[in-house]
C-alpha cells in the first residue's frame, strides 16, 4: 500500500472506531481476551469491519491490539495463529467492500513497562513486536497505537521498519496536561518518531475530542507528517461504562480540528460505526488545511525537548579523559558515579550532556548502554552520545529514549560512510568535525570546505541541515595563536552559508597557559557573539556557565532577565547559614547533623595533615559505629542513620579521590554480592544497605532489582564472594529468594543474608538463609562477622 499516494489523492483519510466497544456490545465480558474471537467467532469480527467500511472507513484495524506473546501467554494460542487469523478476516472483509479500503495490523502496548520503571528489556520489547509484525505481514499498513512510553513506541517502530516494508502510523496517548502517563511530551514524540521514519503520527484514546484539542494543536505545530487523531467518545461512566459524547457532537468537534491541520481521523474507545459515519458526513466538502512548517533545530529526551534557538550548554564531564577517578569508576562499573556527574552538571546549568565512556580494556558498547540507561533513568536532559566506534553508536542510538546528538562524524570517507547512515536511520542530530584524512585544515576556507562536504553527504541521506552541528575545532592557543580567530571566523561562515548549528569544545583553547579560566571564558564569549550555538564545556565552573547566561541576557534572548535573575538574583548566603561555622566544626558534628558538603570539605582539609586510613579508622568508622549504636537503642531513627551514612559516603568519595591522586589503591574488606530478588522491583532497602556496607569498607557488587537467580550465582562465583545479600519486599517474591538460595547452595560456598519487610527470622531459616538482617545496621554487623572484622 502506498500511503503517500493515498494521502495525496484524498483530502482526509478515515479510520475506524472502537473494536473493544463493538465486542462488548456483542457480549464480550470484561476480563476475556478479545483477540481469541478471531478464532472462535471470525464472522463477528468480519461483520464489525464491514460495518466500519460501510460507515466510510478507508483503513480499518484488525483485531490484533493485544495479540502479543505476553498477553496471550495463558491462552494456549500463538501470536502467529491469532494475528494470522485476524489479518485473514481483514482481507476477507476488504474483498466485500464496494471500494478500495485497507486493513491495518493493529499493535498496542505490550502491557509491561520497559526498565528502569518496569522490568522488561528493550530487546525483549523489540522481539515481542517483531513477532507480531512478521505474523501480520499480509496487512496493508502497520498501526502502533495507545503508546505511553516513547521507548516502547520506538522499539515497536524499529521492529516495524526493520522487518517490514509496510507504512507505519504511530499514535500515542496524551492526558490533559499534554503528556503521556510516563511523562512523554508532544514535541519529543514528534521529533523522535518523525526522525525514526514514521509515515504519520498522532494521538489516540484517553480523552474525548474536546479535551484533546490543545494536544492536537500542539502536535500539528511541531511536525510536517500527516497528523492522526482518534479520540474516545468522551469519558466513560464508572457504573455503566458508557461514554458521554454522541456521534454528531463527536464529528463537530473533529471538524473544529481541521484548521489545526489534521489529515487522518477516526474514533477510539466508546465509538462505533455511527461516529465514523457522522464524521465522514461532517467532513464532506472540507479541505485539509495542513501546511508545511520550518521545524526548529532541537534534541530531546522523552520528557524534555531542548530547542536550539539560542546557545545551549553541553556538559562535558561524563568523559574519562585525564580523570583518574572517572577511569576507576568505569573499571568498577560504578554507574552511581556517572549519575552523580550528570546531576552535578545539570544543577550547574547543563542543558545537554555528552556521554563518553571509552577506555582501553573495557567493553565500551556494554558500558555505553549501561551509562545511557542509568542517566536517562534519573534525568530528562537530552544526551550527546560520544564515541568513535560505529557499533557503540548504533547500540546506544537504539535504546536512547528521545532524539540525541551523535558525536561525531568528520570529513574522512570512512567516517562519513559509517556514521551518517546511523544518524539518518535513528533520526539523530550530529556533530560534524572540520577535519579529514589530512588532519585539520590550516585555513578558514579549508574547514568550511569540509563542513560543506559533510552537509552534502548528509543532504543525500535526508538529514536536515537543522540537525547538523558543525565543529570548527578549537586549537590550543599557546601552540597556534593565530588559530583562535580562524576557528571563530570559520564558525561564522559555516553558520551563515550552510544553515547549520555550530558546536565547539571550549576548554582546549587555554591548554598550557596560566589563568585558563579567563582565557576559556573570553574565548567562549567571543565565539558566542559570532554564532556559537552549542558550547561543550564544564558547567561546574561557575564563570563559564554565567558567561553563557550573561550572553543570553545581553543578546536579548533571556527576556526581562528572567533566567539570569533566577540564577543570580537570590540572596542564597543568608538562607542556609549553619548554626556552627565550618571552621569550628568537627567531622563528627557534620556527620551527625547531615551536613554533606561541610563534611566533605572538612575531610579534604584533614587529608592535608592526616593519613587517609587514620581518618577512616579513627573518625569515620567510630562515628558510624556510634550512630549505629544509637539507632539500635532507639535514640535516633532510620532517616538519621541513613543521613549519616550518606554524609560518610561523601567523605569516603573525597578520600578515594585523594588516594588515587597519590597513586594508592583503596583497601577492600571483602566483596559482597547484593540484589533485590527475581520478581521484586522494590530496591530502596537494598540501596540503603549498599551505602552502609560500602561505608564500612566492603566492596558491593550491586546486581540491581528483579535479578535472575542464575545471575546471582554467576556474580558470586566470578567475584568469589563469601557473602551474598538478598532483599525482597513482598510475600509473593519470597519465592524468588528461596529459588536463589537453592541455586546458590548448589554452585557456590558462601553465607547468605536476607532482609526485607515481610521476612521473619523463622522464614529466613526455613528457606535456608544463614542470616536474617532486620535492618541495614544489622547487615553491616553480619558482614563484619563473616569477614572476621
Amino acid at each position: 500500500m502506498e500511503l503517500k499516494k493515498l494521502l495525496s489523492q484524498k483530502e482526509f483519510l478515515f479510520l475506524d472506531g472502537g473494536m473493544g466497544t463493538m465486542l462488548q456490545s456483542a457480549g464480550l465480558e470484561a476480563g476475556e481476551i478479545p483477540e481469541l474471537l478471531n478464532l472462535d467467532r471470525p464472522e463477528l469480527i468480519e461483520d464489525i469491519h464491514l460495518k466500519y467500511i460501510n460507515a466510510g472507513s478507508d483503513i480499518f484495524y484488525c483485531n490484533t491490539f493485544g495479540a502479543n506473546r505476553y498477553k496471550l501467554a495463558k491462552s494456549g494460542k500463538t501470536v502467529a495463529e491469532i494475528i494470522g487469523a485476524a489479518v485473514e478476516i481483514g482481507n476477507r472483509a476488504k474483498k466485500k467492500a464496494d471500494r478500495e479500503v485497507f486493513c491495518a495490523l493493529d499493535i498496542g502496548p505490550i502491557g509491561q513497562m520497559i526498565e528502569p520503571n518496569g522490568t522488561m528489556l528493550f530487546d525483549e520489547a523489540y522481539d515481542i513486536f517483531r513477532e507480531m509484525i512478521v505474523a501480520g505481514k499480509d496487512a496493508d499498513i502497520i498501526v502502533l497505537e495507545t503508546m505511553t512510553d516513547l521507548l516502547e513506541a520506538k522499539a515497536a517502530l524499529l521492529a516495524a521498519k526493520e522487518n517490514s516494508d509496510l507504512p507505519v502510523i504511530v499514535t500515542m496517548t496524551f492526558e490533559e496536561n499534554m503528556r503521556t502517563f510516563t511523562g512523554c511530551c508532544i514535541e519529543s514524540m514528534a521529533m523522535t518518531l518523525g526522525g525514526l521514519g514514521a509515515d504519520a503520527i498522532g494521538i489516540n484514546c484517553s480523552l474525548g475530542p474536546r479535551e484533546l484539542f490543545p494536544s492536537v494543536e500542539k502536535l500539528c505545530g511541531c511536525t510536517n507528517l500527516p497528523v492522526v487523531i482518534k479520540p474516545n467518545a468522551g469519558l466513560p461512566d464508572p457504573v455503566t461504562n458508557e461514554y458521554n459524547v454522541m456521534p454528531e457532537e463527536f464529528a463537530e468537534l473533529l471538524v473544529k480540528m481541521i484548521p489545526l491541520g489534521i489529515k487522518i481521523v477516526g474514533g477510539c474507545c466508546g465509538t462505533n460505526p455511527d461516529y465514523i459515519a457522522a464524521t465522514v458526513k461532517a467532513f464532506e466538502g472540507r479541505k485539509c488545511e495542513a501546511v508545511t512548517k520550518t521545524l526548529p533545530s532541537a534534541v530531546c529526551s522523552a520528557s524534555n525537548a531542548v530547542i536550539i534557538d539560542c546557545p545551549r550548554i553541553i556538559g562535558e564531564r561524563i568523559n574519562p579523559t585525564g580523570k583518574k577517578r572517572f577511569k576507576q569508576a568505569l573499571q568498577e562499573h560504578d554507574l552511581d558515579y556517572i549519575c552523580n556527574q550528570a546531576i552535578e552538571q545539570i544543577d550547574a546549568g547543563a542543558e545537554i550532556l555528552d556521554v563518553n565512556v571509552g577506555l582501553p580494556g573495557i567493553d565500551e558498547r556494554e558500558m555505553m548502554l549501561s551509562a545511557i540507561r542509568a542517566v536517562q533513568g534519573i534525568c530528562d536532559t537530552p544526551l550527546q552520545i560520544d564515541s568513535s566506534i560505529p557499533e557503540v553508536l548504533d547500540s546506544a542510538l537504539r535504546i536512547y529514549s528521545g532524539k540525541p546528538i551523535v558525536n561525531s562524524v568528520n570529513g574522512e570517507e570512512k567516517s562519513l560512510s559509517a556514521i551518517l547512515p546511523l544518524v539518518a536511520k535513528y533520526g539523530a542530530a550530529v556533530v560534524g568535525l572540520c577535519l579529514d584524512e589530512d588532519g585539520i585544515p590550516k585555513t578558514i576556507e579549508g574547514r568550511v570546505a569540509i563542513a560543506e562536504k559533510i552537509c552534502k553527504r548528509a543532504d543525500a541521506l535526508g538529514i536536515p541541515r537543522s540537525d547538523i552541528c558543525i565543529d570548527c575545532l578549537t586549537l590550543t592557543c599557546s601552540a597556534e595563536q593565530e588559530a583562535a580567530m580562524q576557528t571563530i571566523e570559520a564558525l561564522r561562515i559555516c553558520k551563515e552559508k550552510l544553515g547549520v548549528r555550530t558546536v565547539l569544545g571550549v576548554s582546549n583553547i587555554s591548554f598550557g597557559l596560566p589563568q585558563r579560566e579567563i582565557v576559556n571564558r573570553t574565548f567562549l564569549t567571543m565565539a558566542l557573539t559570532k554564532g556559537l550555538d552549542l558550547p561543550i564545556m564544564n558547567p561546574n565552573i561557575a564563570s563559564m556557565t554565567s558567561a553563557v547566561r550573561a550572553y543570553r541576557l545581553l543578546a536579548n534572548i533571556d527576556k526581562n532577565a528572567k533566567e539570569f535573575v533566577e540564577n543570580y538574583g537570590g540572596d542564597t548566603a543568608a538562607s542556609s547559614q549553619p548554626a556552627v561555622k565550618q571552621e569550628d566544626m568537627t567531622l563528627g558534628y557534620a556527620m551527625s547533623h547531615g551536613l554533606k558538603n561541610d563534611a566533605a570539605q572538612i575531610t579534604a582539609k584533614l587529608l592535608e595533615t592526616t593519613e587517609a586510613m587514620e581518618i577512616v579508622n579513627n573518625i569515620l568508622i567510630p562515628e558510624l559505629d556510634k550512630t549505629g549504636a544509637e539507632f539500635e537503642k532507639g535514640k535516633i531513627f532510620l532517616p538519621q542513620l541513613i543521613m549519616t551514612a550518606g554524609v560518610a559516603q561523601s567523605c569516603f568519595e573525597v578520600i578515594k579521590q585523594s588516594m588515587l591522586k597519590s597513586g594508592g589503591a583503596g583497601v577492600s574488606k571483602g566483596k559482597i554480592v547484593l540484589c533485590t530478588v527475581k520478581g521484586d522491583v522494590h530496591d530502596i532497602g537494598k540501596n540503603i544497605v549498599k551505602v552502609m556496607l560500602e561505608n564500612y569498607g566492603f566492596t558491593v557488587i550491586d546486581l540491581g532489582k528483579d535479578v535472575d537467580p542464575q545471575l546471582v550465582v554467576d556474580a558470586a562465583i566470578e567475584h568469589d564472594v563469601k557473602l551474598v545479600g538478598l532483599s525482597a519486599l513482598m510475600t509473593t517474591t519470597l519465592k524468588g529468594m528461596e529459588d536463589t538460595i537453592k541455586l546458590l547452595r548448589q554452585h557456590h560456598e558462601c553465607k547468605i543474608m536476607v532482609g526485607g519487610a515481610v521476612l521473619t527470622p523463622d522464614y529466613a531459616a526455613q528457606i535456608g538463609a544463614d542470616y536474617y538482617a532486620k535492618d541495614a545496621k544489622q547487615s553491616c554487623d553480619i558482614a563484619k562477622e563473616v569477614y572476621g572484622d
Partner: protein
C-alpha cells in the same frame, strides 16, 4: 477521574520513615520541601468501575465479568454488600523517577521521598474515597481492601488491571510477579451497601507485616 490536588499527610509519611519522635527542625524542613516537590510533580491517575456482586463458595463474583475475588477475607469484607467499587490509583512513574534521582543525590533523601510517595498514594486514595462518598451518597462503604490482604491473593492484581483497562486509562501495568508498575500504585476493592456497615478496624490481622511490624513490637499501631 483525575485528582489534580492532594496533600500528603506528613505525619503519616514520618511514621513510614520509622521516626518514633517528631523529626528535628532541619529534618522536618527537608521532609516538607520534598513533600511539596511531590505534590507539585506527581500526576495521579485514577480509574474505577462499579460492579454488582454475587456470593459463591469461597469467592465473590463480579457480575458481567469473568472475574472472581477468591478467599474468605474478601468474602467477609464484602459480606453485607450488593456491589463493589474496583479501583486502581497511581501517583505516576514520576514518583519512581524522583525517588531514583533523590537517591543519587543522597540516600536519605531517596528514602524520605520513597516514604512520602507512599503517603501520596494514600492521600490520593482518600481523595477518591471522598469523591465516591459524594457520588454514591445513599450508599454505605466498607474500607479499602487490597489484593494481598489476608487470603485475598496478590495474583488478583493483574486481573483488576485488565478489568479496569488500567494500562490505557491510568498507565498502570503489572509484572509477571504481580507487582504494580509504577511502583507507587494500588489496586483496591470497596464494598457498597444500602445498609450501614460495621466497618470495624482495618486492624493488623489482615496485614502482611503483622509478624515483623515495628509498631506492634512497640505496642502501638501504624494508624490503619
Amino acid at each position: 477521574m483525575s485528582v489534580n490536588r492532594f496533600m500528603i499527610n506528613i505525619d503519616e509519611a514520618v511514621r513510614y520513615m520509622g521516626y518514633r519522635e517528631p523529626p528535628d527542625e532541619a529534618q522536618m524542613k527537608t521532609i516538607t520541601a520534598l513533600a511539596a516537590l511531590l505534590e507539585h510533580e506527581l500526576k495521579p491517575a485514577v480509574v474505577y468501575r462499579v460492579f454488582p456482586i454475587g456470593f459463591i463458595e469461597g469467592a465473590v463474583e463480579l457480575k458481567g465479568t469473568k472475574l472472581r475475588f477468591i478467599g474468605n477475607s474478601i468474602r467477609e469484607h464484602l459480606a453485607c454488600c450488593d456491589s463493589v467499587v474496583v479501583m486502581c490509583v497511581t501517583v505516576s512513574s514520576r514518583a519512581d523517577e524522583l525517588i531514583r534521582l533523590k537517591e543519587r543525590e543522597d540516600i536519605a533523601l531517596g528514602f524520605m521521598t520513597d516514604c512520602l510517595a507512599s503517603a501520596a498514594v494514600e492521600a490520593v486514595c482518600s481523595e477518591v474515597e471522598t469523591e465516591l462518598a459524594n457520588k454514591f451518597s445513599t450508599k454505605f462503604f466498607t474500607w479499602r481492601f487490597s489484593p494481598g490482604y489476608g487470603d485475598f491473593p496478590l495474583e488478583t492484581q493483574p486481573h483488576i488491571i485488565e478489568l479496569l483497562n488500567a494500562g490505557k486509562r491510568a498507565g498502570v501495568t503489572c509484572t509477571p510477579s504481580s507487582m504494580l508498575i509504577p511502583s507507587k500504585s494500588v489496586t483496591a476493592v470497596i464494598g457498597l451497601s444500602d445498609l450501614p456497615i460495621d466497618k470495624g478496624r482495618r486492624g493488623c490481622v489482615v496485614c502482611n507485616l503483622s509478624k515483623t511490624c515495628d509498631f506492634r513490637k512497640r505496642g502501638v499501631r501504624c494508624g490503619t
